[in-house]
Symmetry: D2
Subunit: 423 residues, 4 copies
């Protein structure tokens, strides 16, 4: 134990560190690296306040976890395994330590996976591993187990990852704060007060149902207002295209003016831990800046578009209009723009961003369970009309993204498309 | 004119753009570059929320200026020169466009000056210049004049730069928001409502005196709690030392593994506009990362300390203890650490960060004038007891910064110092 | 026109008065009386912050209306009848001027109606009428027409009363602020920006759909968390019972120790305007305080329970358990408590508190219409999956309210009930 | 001990009750009566949001005290007398229980004293006394001792009453919240964290000095912006005049239409505990309402002015202009207005509202002491330049209050005065 340390935090006011291990983890260079990775990737191009880092989010997840456990301890709940405290705190702090720069785009193009990297960092030859090993030789393995959801005790993993976990609670509040939208606010203090450890699970006292409804509705709003914002998607698509283009050039044997080792090894599919440590958003932005000076015009153009925010526009399409895709391809080719790099069809949704889905399957997030005064559990959609109404709601439209300059050129196929789109 | 555009902003809720020129300026690559320069330099190492960019601050200064002018127009004040509206808006937006990465440290080591660079960008061969020139051939010159305070009409320059200008009002609120401290909040709406154009100056209706007092007290608190925070100073000192070390090595003919052109030209004192455009905080962080791998141990160590946040500690010294400096030097030399790079005496103050100083001199910021109901002007310290009390207050202590590892070594001189410091 | 006046307001920061008529209306004694009527009736017994008055709410509705109209004027929308500005402002300000003390309970017991009283005050021999008549002899009649929804122009009435009117927008934000819950917050500035006058209606630009969803979800949460809170209902029931008991005693010829004229006339069903002016919550609380000293034990007990907050408890009942009612009656009678005054079955819902219902009928609130970029209108449930999901949702449970002391007595029927309820 | 109960509170989010005694105290009718006494007396006539009650403030003081003690216990500070916990909590909760309606005005006119009444309620035959006596027969006496500052342990009294006590911390935050001004906000969480029990006193860890500065500056601003607001003073003066007039009439044997017993006894100087219980702001407002119908024109006029907010205007006077007083008297007499009731000279200040004064005298509030890392204590003005600057600052102007209608009459003396005032 150490003298309590505090971090000033805009979301939780203060973050309290009470364990030497936690303090030492924060001061490792692998954890400090998270300062150079934005929490919301390309969203800063839509919401200019959203420059906050994964470092701040990781501290926030730690703090919420600490508060939950502290409440469990204060009330001496029998079902809480007190000996798991430090494991929970470390896993909460480190759950995102393997995130790379602009994860969405990079992972899609290069097939990396941040959860795997978190475990490699925790188990590999790193400062993080050294600190964790001070607790016990098997402690790093336990922490990695919690993050990869293989740890034997579900109550521990569900604190860090479930439909109502510390991770989501922090990012909804944090992203709402830094973007400036007020959709993502809910009553965190109340939710923390109604959580209960019960038979190996974290459940919610029934009287807190409305607070959970409020949380789920905030989540719904944040997905559609922030996470799936079409401008953010446009930036992600553009970044993905630039990376695909560079990768294709690399595979063709193109000679780059500037090729730092971590990028080279990323292209070669043989990233080492020390490469990964160097691979932050500063490096990615520097590389993109150099690519704007490359002689390949497509790579230079796509990189410049991303950096200087000349993003693709989009048009929403109904399902019956899928034929528009062909018209777009024709028009782009006529205008001398490669459809592989200057167009994308997008459907902004994925299961993890459901409003809420009460699945109990192996790959599902644990659902939200209510505990009534007679100690009966029920899944929240059985009790809440509104959660039932919105559960599984999928929305979002298909959109085609393309450069607005397309319509500055002439040509019959562009004219056909222009008429279809704008009448 | 264009259809009104809005940016979501956490501080002002929304930022409204109503002029095509303003919209086009925001979309230039020189203005977009400000996304890659943090508003608060190294403060993110003290306050992890403080990752916000000069881009967001510049939009904020523009928005406050827009609101002030809009109030003047709505009330049809005779002393407001309506024809200066667009000039004010453009100067407000662009006043920081010349800021480089970590300006404090870079300007100190290399003698650059962000105000000069703002004018070079406005007057040079840039997208910004092209957009401004659409208004009139002399318009870029006028904008630069406002920023460098040579423009003929004081009322215009004082909107952008005075003791109560749009710049300070935005940064106090914005820095308070992103650091999470609540010192910097004051009643912006009320202040805007009591500003009046009067005889070529911006003055304050006397009934708003208390709101101005509150603003000055917020400013005082922000200086001591945020801007002069010793940990932030420590990070600035460390960064400065790393840059000095690299510069010295360069001058000795040391061969760097990684030396991008903008850095080379910075070292050579011949930065071009196109170099400057590339010189952002991503590049600086990438360079520092590469320097951690350099063979020169001092440069590698200092760079790593900054990046991984192993900052210098500090001890406060009274004036009579100046002899401590010599003891520090001796101890550092004994421990094999070059005092030029591993120690600094700091006095955290400079005139621009006074609480408030009612100067009327040529180099002073314009003081705050109150306008009473009989149209008499008085400088605020004549009317406000509290502003008089705190006016010109200087505080802050001398501090010596040094690496904490110094005391992990033994040796007689280190022991002497240890005893002086810790008894 | 007058020099702009401002009121400091916690919800809107400032409330701006720019017309002499509005200023004079605020200063009438009938409008000042609203300071002595709480906005949320008995809710202060649940949420101790909820002491805010109808005076503050009325100013808030005025301010939102002023902002909407100001936006319409600034953008010079063709469909906005500019000549209706002052009528809208006055109707917004005065829409609640006829509210009496604890309206819900009083109106239920005595059959009064605040909307009628608003019109009587506007059309009768009052200061409000004198001020309004300065505009034109028919102006009071127009204002009353807007409030009673008989005014010929729907666009005017719908500003003050519809599914998305200034009234609801203010009370959601205001009640959320003063109770301290954070359910009721939504992005007012954004909603105001997307409202459009269109073909005699106020509609919403389609791009604002998500902001409206957020507003409707806030509304839903406020209804269940605040407006239908069972403790608030308990206080309302208790107050209603005390009033019913006093009324019954009065009808029996009981002689009251303290019977001020307005109460006497209320009992006699012949309230005059000057009585009504005296009938505020101070008087009601004073009367209740005197009733605690009355010799009739039921009246004294019920009044004391309300004043000293010894409220009825409640138990939720399913529909199949309606037989509980009989058991309650039996037990109460056994315990010597009159079931007419010591028990109530409650179902907390009424149509006006729907989440949202897209009715177009004569008695329905005007639904929310979206205007797309091709000037087509659609009702919001056609476009928003989530509004469709929650539209018309009715929830809430039947509850039986009763004094907790019932179970402190013995007796076989109380025992039967105790077993049914608590097993 | 009981299951934890919570109150939703806008200032502290939640108020936690963990002791049965505290819960029972809150439910006494004497404590519930505080719901009918406003925290800020007549300020609601200036700031319409300021309707919050002493009930909510008392809960807030309790909650801050609970948090301070909880921090002391968590850190197991040796100097904290753990056995005093319940005494501190009860004294914090009850410190204002003796406040009457519009205390400032009533106490001035009738010489009552709320602190004495608090002790009478605690020691007399009341529900509060019954609850406290459950702890021990001497417990009520101890609680009264803490409130009247005669309790033997200074550390206990200073928690409830000092320059940095739970009382002031709550009212600054609460009054700021409900008025809507943002002057009164400071970092409560940080201050609570740096308080330490030390040698029988509550002191502040030196590192928290800036947070205390911020608190003192907030306090300064609140005094001048809210507590001494000239419009609030005007309402207090008017209410005082109405009470003086009624008292004088009573002493002359005037027969009142409506004279409830508590008021009669107040006039006769023989208020009993049961009278006092009935004496709330509802009763006072009802009495004032009836007085507007009295045949004495001065009493009727003054009462109506207060209730319907037709307040006195004011003019600020320098010390050399004291002769204005005579001119005012002459003019009022000429206009047929009794100067005793239609005029008042006011100097808005009293010692308890100093910015800060480091007195150690018997009647002074305990000063703020800083504890440095070598366990040395210093009074804050020795360490803080800014507190030193503002310490003891007195400001405020002499003002003469009078009815604006005075100048609607003619006459030579009124003309003289008009010229002096308005030129």
């Amino acid at each position: 134990m150490i003298e309590e340390k505090v971090f000033k935090d805009p979301v939780h006011k203060y973050i309290y560190v009470q364990d030497r291990i936690v303090w030492d983890l924060i001061n490792t260079k692998e954890f400090q690296r998270l300062r150079r990775i934005r929490q919301l990737g390309t969203s800063f191009l839509t919401f200019h306040g959203a420059e906050h880092s994964r470092f701040s989010h990781s501290l926030g997840v730690y703090e919420i976890t600490r508060k939950i456990i502290s409440q469990f301890e204060r009330n001496q709940y029998a079902d809480w395994p007190a000996e798991e405290r430090l494991l929970c705190l470390c896993a909460a702090l480190l759950h995102d330590v393997g995130h790379g720069p602009f994860s969405h785009s990079i992972e899609k193009v290069f097939g990396t996976n941040h959860e795997n990297w978190s475990c490699r960092i925790i188990l590999g030859d790193t400062d993080v591993n050294k600190v964790l090993s001070q607790v016990s030789p098997t402690f790093p393995h336990d922490v990695a187990g919690v993050i990869c959801k293989t740890y034997r005790r579900e109550i521990v993993t569900s604190l860090v990852s479930s439909q109502l976990d510390a991770d989501r609670m922090d990012y909804l509040l944090r992203d709402a704060y830094f973007t400036g939208v007020n959709y993502g606010t809910f009553d965190l203090e109340r939710i923390l007060r109604v959580l209960r450890p019960y038979q190996g699970k974290i459940v919610v006292k029934e009287s807190g149902m409305h607070a959970v409804e409020d949380y789920l509705m905030s989540r719904y709003q944040m997905y559609w207002q922030v996470y799936f914002h079409p401008v953010t998607r446009s930036a992600e698509i553009l970044l993905g295209k630039a990376l695909e283009c560079a990768k294709a050039l690399f595979e063709e044997g193109y000679s780059f003016e500037f090729m730092p080792e971590p990028i080279l090894h990323l292209f070669q599919g043989k990233l080492s831990l020390s490469d990964y440590f160097l691979l932050d958003e500063s490096l990615m932005q520097t590389v993109l800046m150099y690519w704007t000076l490359e002689k390949n015009p497509v790579l230079a153009d796509l990189s410049g578009r991303f950096l200087h925010r000349r993003l693709f526009k989009f048009t929403s399409v109904d399902e019956q209009e899928i034929s528009l895709l062909t018209d777009f391809q024709d028009a782009l080719e006529e205008a001398g723009l490669d459809p592989n790099y200057y167009m994308e069809m997008d459907f902004p949704s994925d299961q993890s961003y459901d409003v809420y889905r009460p699945g109990f399957g192996k790959d599902d997030k644990l659902p939200i369970l209510l505990l009534d005064s007679q100690d009966r559990l029920s899944e929240i959609t059985e009790r809440s009309e509104i959660v039932k109404s919105i559960s599984g709601l999928h929305m979002g439209q298909h959109r085609i993204y393309y450069p607005v300059e397309l319509f500055e050129t002439g040509g019959p196929k562009v004219d056909v498309l222009r008429r279809r789109l704008f009448g």
